[in-house]
Amino acid sequence: MQRIYLNPAAVSHPEMKKFVDGLQVENDNLILALHAVENHFGYIPREVAAFLAERFRIPMARIYEVITFYHYFRTKPPGRHLITVCNGTTCWLFQSEKLLQMAHEFKTNLPEEKQREVSIEEVRCIGCCALAPLAYIDGQLHPYLNAEIFQQELEKVISCEDKA
């Protein structure tokens, strides 16, 4: 969760094909391949899925069946800013849903072109329940959140960038 993804728009089709051809995948295991693709691009671009279908000689439908089944795989590129709130049971007890709601409100209050840059996701427990509630903002994990800290952290991320 702490990767910097390629900008998919900047990746050409031949490059995608080259990436797929270069994948070393044991037993043509589709999930291993999809993990590699997601790690590289941040999501599974449709073009890459098509190249995978070609390479593994399976229908596109079977690839999408797998992609859509697993929460981990994205079919759209995540925004430049990724907010992932843990919504496991312990975090829920400590008001994670309020954090989620705050994240969405924060996003809606941004100027329109900024909104597209922010993605909000949920995860079901990352096993650090002692620090509940927690959330990742751009790969950085924030423990013991409350409304005030969360709001500050969200604002930090966006305002930093405005200055840059």
Binding site: I31, L32, V66, F69, H71, W92, L93, G127, L131
Partner: protein
Amino acid sequence: MKIRLNFDSNAIAAGAAYVGEALQRELGKTWQIIKVGTNGLSYADPQIEVEAEHLPAVIFGKLNAHNIAYLLEDFFQHGLFPREEFFRSGGCILGGRTFMKKRGGAITHILVSDTSLPLQDKNRAYVLSLLSRFFSPGQYAWALDFGFYNRGFAIEIFPQSEVYAGFSIEELPELFGLLSQGQGLAIHKRFSEPLQLRLVSKNCGRMSAESIEEALQLGGYDALQTSLKKLSPEAVISEVEKSGLRGRGGAGYPTALKWKLTRQEKNFPKYVICNADEGDPGAFMDRSLLESDPHRVLEGLILAGYAIGAEQGYFYIRAEYPLATQRIRRAVEEARQYGFLGKNILGSGFSFDVKVRLGAGAYVCGEETALIASLEGKRGSPVPRPPYPSQRGLYGKPTCINNVETLATIPEIILRGGDYFSTIGKGKSLGTKIFAVSGQIAKTQLVEVPMGMPLKILIYDICGGLPAGKQLKAVQTGGPSGGFVPASLLDIPLTYEDFLAIGSIIGSGGLIVLDESVNLAEFMLFYLNFNVDESCGKCAPCRIGGFQLRHLYQELLAGADAERQIAKIKRIAYAMKLASLCGLGKAACNPIFSSLHFFPEDYKLWAKKNISTVP
């Protein structure tokens, strides 16, 4: 001189990297700083444990950029417990958990704490001022936690590293007086036994999780070497059978039986899989084992392979656990270099290797048949059993799937003997079990205790009960497939049988403590959201039933007539329990029945006057 720094996901998220850098910079020349996994005391991260001849062996917890300076100066430079500012800026000291050898000599330091519940520090100032009459500043300090509660005032003296408890506040002046005159031995009868029994997690937090050398020093791979030299696969199975070990992944199936059935099959090759999917939200036992003692889990997997006659093993680790994955990968590589994996292991003729696979965020993939499909690269849809994986599993071959903790227990059983293991526990629930206690609990942590221990002892006497001012309502066990233990039944022994009898399960070991402010109908809606999200959609009872139930709960919480809603909920839940294909759908209704049974009033609170149904 060693400093052990917790460095698992939890500690890192809490800021352990910063602490590690500061320590390395200031003390790196003279101290060995070891990044361990977790000692289990997750609530106190970032924390360090000190091991040195001239200093008390204690844990300093909740370290941060402010308080670490006091620690460095007072403790590491001057050998004194840190000044009050250390505590005021969040720091704490934990006692009573040392691995140091006991030493004699005049008392140099003393830790004190009040272990009476409910937790409060109301006597802290008084006791510290009392101590100041007998000891000089920096010789004494207040401890946050000794690992036990409900035993009055407790002290630990150094360099002896001995803990005494059970003092009343009136006894303290005399006690401190005696101690300051070097007459500590007079109080020997007060020694308090540890409540935990750490067998499986005994090395967690003691060694680097990224060094096979350290694992070997603490007995890693001894069980494998013994088995390969002295025990036939049948003898390994028989040792496990004697131990009475049952699967720790939730279902509690006898491990030896599963191994026997898989061994029996004449179809080759066979596979063993370590189920490291840990999908139960709120549980972190498996993550902690994988991140703290990966070699133990790996050794268990190799032994399972040896026992059933498999040459290929797999780890299936959830994608949300990148650090666990990294440490297991490293452990596998190191084990290969040391000849514990590969062809003809240690000249025994037994060959075995391991691959690491990742999940992709699907709870249902913890279910055996779904896990197998996922390993094969497909979507994780369960299939009906039989045939069981022991007959037809991965790639259609006999496959044995075990949970992380189950496997981590195996080396201990081989080394100590199955008979020893079976003397611990109660009824058909033998050995020790690791629990992850979280929620409204004073000290969120991992606890390993003999099975059969009353839940109440675990919650109160080990974890310190609920935070000040909170009242216990129930303990949630077994996650979305489990149920609730109401406060009135808190004496229940932690066994598979006792939990079954009240309509719950121990599950994998996640215990979530709920206080009076939680409404269980609301809580159920949260679980139903989870189940609807996670249902694979293959069979109608679960796919549609879950959806319907969620809708009924939404109506209920919006004020619909409780009686009618409950009747409908029950009807659908029964159908779903009976007709669902896999454990996810079957068990999804357990917490519904459990909450309805124990907390019917929570369902009635929502009814709005004059509205019988919601449109």
